[in-house]
């Protein structure tokens, strides 16, 4: 069932991802997946001949104390490809999973991805998602903090234009005490693009001392761009700290004037500020190959 096909990597980012994931594939005794970890919509003809529907359900376990990295790039040009998958991660005591996703394929793709992460005591799940591709994408993350001192860190950047739609949904269930979460979303919207973000912190009664933060920042570059936000807090414990916030704005006139007053032409000044807004969240990626790939993709995408 060759649902995920690994085409020959061509770009620098793909090569880095490919080399890394190939290594992982052979040395992943702790991550049981039936399918290759690296899946990609390719512009390879084989894919077009097979099917343009890619789907899969798979599970991964990160054994106690281990640190695993999953770096996925979804790319390619088929104009009507669909990816729908569900991933479940069991992150055991003291283990860390860093999961980086780059959805950078054609603008006609449809992507629907669901992640369920279960975290034991002192487990960490780091997720970073960059979306520039897909006509419509929906990424869901459901995290269950079942052990004390577990930590979830979700970062997302939607960089879309034209009539693209991106929907990001995070549902964090705080079940054990002393758990923490950090959810940061950024959206840069041009044309008539629409991005929506829903974030929910559900703090169960036993989950005292929960410390959770959620922020969504939107940069609108056109009159037609739209954004919707729905933060939700559902709290049943009485000693917790949960905060959420959102900002929506255009490029700052004062910042543009400051750059102009230093001789920087308007188009370049705009590009610098958009880059800065995007790279600020990308800079939080600690895993170097992914950081490089994300940074380079944003730069290329915004200077195209």
């Amino acid at each position: 069932m060759p649902q995920f096909i690994i085409p020959k990597p061509t770009t620098r980012a793909q090569k880095e991802a490919f080399c890394f994931m190939a290594t992982r594939h052979f040395a992943r005794e702790n991550l049981r997946a039936e399918e290759p970890l690296f899946h990609m919509f390719g512009d390879h003809t084989t894919i077009l001949q097979n099917s343009t529907l890619h789907s899969g359900d798979w599970q991964g376990t990160v054994a106690a104390g281990r640190t695993e990295i999953l770096f996925e790039i979804i790319t390619g040009n088929p104009d009507d490809a669909v990816l729908t998958d569900a991933q479940t991660f069991d992150i055991h005591t003291g283990a860390t999973l860093t999961h980086v996703r780059m959805h950078i394929g054609g603008h006609q793709h449809v992507i629907h991805r669901k992640v369920t992460a279960k975290l034991a005591e002192n487990a960490v799940y780091n997720q970073f998602t960059l979306t520039t591709g897909a006509a419509a994408s929906r990424v869901e993350t459901h995290a269950y903090l079942e052990g004390e001192h577990a930590h979830v860190n979700l970062q997302g950047l939607n960089l879309i234009e034209g009539s693209q739609k991106a929907d990001s949904w995070a549902d964090i269930q705080f079940i054990a005490p002393n758990c923490t979460a950090n959810v940061e979303q950024r959206q840069i919207l041009d044309g008539s693009a629409h991005a929506s973000f829903q974030g929910k912190f559900h703090v169960h009664q036993a989950a005292q001392k929960t410390d959770a933060y959620m922020m969504c920042k939107n940069l609108l570059l056109s009159e037609g761009a739209r954004t919707s936000q729905k933060p939700e807090l559902e709290i049943y414990a009485d000693d917790v700290k949960c905060s959420h916030g959102t900002t929506t704005g255009q490029l700052d006139d004062e910042a543009l004037f400051y750059l102009a007053a230093r001789g920087i032409p308007a188009h370049k000044a705009r590009a610098m500020l958009i880059q800065a807004f995007a790279q600020e969240i990308a800079s939080k990626l600690e895993y170097a190959p992914a950081h490089t790939a994300v940074h380079d993709h944003i730069e290329t995408y915004l200077t195209k």
Binding site: A260, A261, G263, M272
Partner: protein
């Protein structure tokens, strides 16, 4: 005879302000001033005199309109040039409140600004290594640590660091006309000395300074050739450095009444 850098003639300018009934307010009401290369002019005046508006109008900020008279900078009508073109042509405004640019790397910002000017002048752009060599000498002169280059522009800078960073930009861009808007505000005495020394180092025969300040204090460190007192959108009195002293001793009201 020194070259004339800036001529302000009967300048009337208004600010567009939506909160006002007719949406605009006249701030500059017939301003006249000529700056020659090598000269340092100070403009002093009470709050609301139009000092900062003058800086913004000269630098080309949006939201201001020249309604009468004009400004000639280096034989060009300033109103014909956008803010970025003015800067590339050698006009520099040191901001009263330098803008924080989160995520914009300071080194990249400085190099982009310098190269924009070099492209305009038909010079070769500096690459990373060439730029680093150049900026290091400027950093050392202003007693600034190299770690500044890794930070985001002005983000999290103290008041003194922001002003030093403004002077660093001025040193790097080598303007023909430098306008300092309330550069002394937010500075303690040590920072004031460093910033003033930076400005004094940049005094040159081919460069003019326009120093906008509310207090005489800055002029203890940067000696002006001329002092002008501005009130209600006009220059009401001009003199040499002693005028600033007189102002400090007697206050604006007395001087203007005289």
């Amino acid at each position: 005879m020194s070259k004339t850098v800036l001529t302000i003639q009967n300048l009337h300018a208004q600010i567009e302000d939506e909160s006002l009934e007719d949406g605009k307010k006249e701030i500059l009401k017939g301003m006249n001033l000529t700056l020659k290369a090598g000269e340092v002019h100070a403009i002093m005046g009470p709050n609301g005199a139009g000092k900062s508006t003058l800086g913004n109008v000269l630098a080309g900020k949006d939201g201001y309109a020249i309604t009468q008279g004009g400004v000639v900078f280096n034989n060009e009508n300033l109103d014909d040039l956008g803010a970025d073109e003015r800067a590339r042509n050698g006009l520099f405004l040191a901001f009263q409140y330098p803008v924080e640019l989160p995520g914009v790397n300071a080194a990249q910002f400085l190099r982009t600004a310098l190269n924009a000017k070099r492209i305009e002048a038909g010079e070769k752009e500096l690459n990373g290594a060439e730029f680093l060599r150049l900026i290091r000498t400027h950093l050392a002169a202003l007693k600034m640590d190299e770690s500044f280059l890794k930070r985001s522009v002005n983000e999290g800078f103290s008041g003194g660091e922001k002003k030093r960073f403004e002077i660093l930009q001025m040193a790097l861009l080598e303007p023909q006309l430098a306008i300092l808007d309330e550069t002394d505000s937010g500075l303690d005495i040590d920072a004031l000395k460093i910033v003033s020394a930076g400005v004094n180092d940049l005094r040159a025969d081919n460069r003019a300074f326009l120093i906008i300040t509310h207090y005489q204090r800055l002029l203890d460190y940067i000696k002006p050739d001329f002092v002008h007192i501005m009130a209600d959108g006009q220059i009401v009195k001009s003199g040499d450095a002693s005028l600033a002293k007189e102002l400090e001793a007697n206050g604006y009201d007395k001087i203007m009444a005289a």
